[in-house]
């Protein structure tokens, strides 16, 4: 199964890191994303945006990884935001009401703006 995680600096705010995830995020693939996000949190980033646009499936394990990343961000004091979720992925956040604490921004630029303006 194709699954990939890439990190790059946001072009307009290079101190922010954009994490792009491609594939299906479940218990088989979540450890790889968790590993990347844990390492990123330890590198004292100014902020992290996870681009979910390449994810066509996300389950409760994937949600748990994103929730863990939010917790680390709050503890370390950096901004964390999600962007670009497909409708079937957004639905999982809505069903679990996690959208209340993990807002989904329509685009990466809007997620970056939310962190910068916070």
């Amino acid at each position: 199964m194709l699954f990939d995680v890439t990190l790059k600096a946001d072009p307009s705010h290079p101190s922010l890191t954009v994490v792009s995830v491609v594939g299906e995020l479940d218990v088989a693939t979540a450890p790889k994303l968790r590993q990347e996000l844990v390492a990123l949190a330890a590198s004292s980033p100014a902020g992290v945006v996870v681009d979910l646009g390449g994810i066509d499936f996300l389950d409760s394990t994937g949600l748990g990884v994103l929730l863990g990343a939010l917790k680390r961000a709050r503890t370390a004091g950096f901004g964390f935001a999600l962007a670009n979720a497909e409708p079937q992925v957004a639905r999982v956040f809505e069903v679990t009401r996690l959208v209340d604490i993990l807002p989904l921004h329509p685009t990466v630029a809007e997620a970056v703006a939310a962190i910068v303006e916070a």
């Binding site: 199964m1 499936f57 679990t96 604490i101």
Partner: protein
Amino acid sequence: MGEIRLEIPARPEYLSLARQVVAAAAAVEPRFRSERIDALRLAVSEATTNAVQSHADLGSGERIVITCDLDEERIEVEVIDRGGGFDPDELPAVPEPGDPERLEFERGLGIPIMRELTDESEIRPSPEGTAVRLVVYRSEASAERSRTDPAVDAPDADVRDGGE
């Protein structure tokens, strides 16, 4: 009515296959709405994830069995494991999203998701393992009709409800 039976090794890398097979089985009935198939795909994945975990906890090498029973109104899926079994009523409640404690719970959402996304769900634990039964109707309207009058079989429903 047709039944499909899939046996998979109890390993995470087979979850994707289980999802694909169940979604493809539902799609055999062209009137199944795509958001309903997405809901089924996720519910089955959660049930199968729990099954894989329960086999891992026991070190069991047995396979997980997934059956799909499809008719023109609904699909019924069973996920049967040979793990230790568990009592769903004894699971800890996940705090509300606004509760600061919510961030301490990275797990525990699988069963609430299963229940929320299906029209019927049942978890049957036994000493031999757990069977999870999930039912999804082809549309909201079809599910609603089954709730109000389970005896009615409505193959001509599209005529009455405007071709959903």
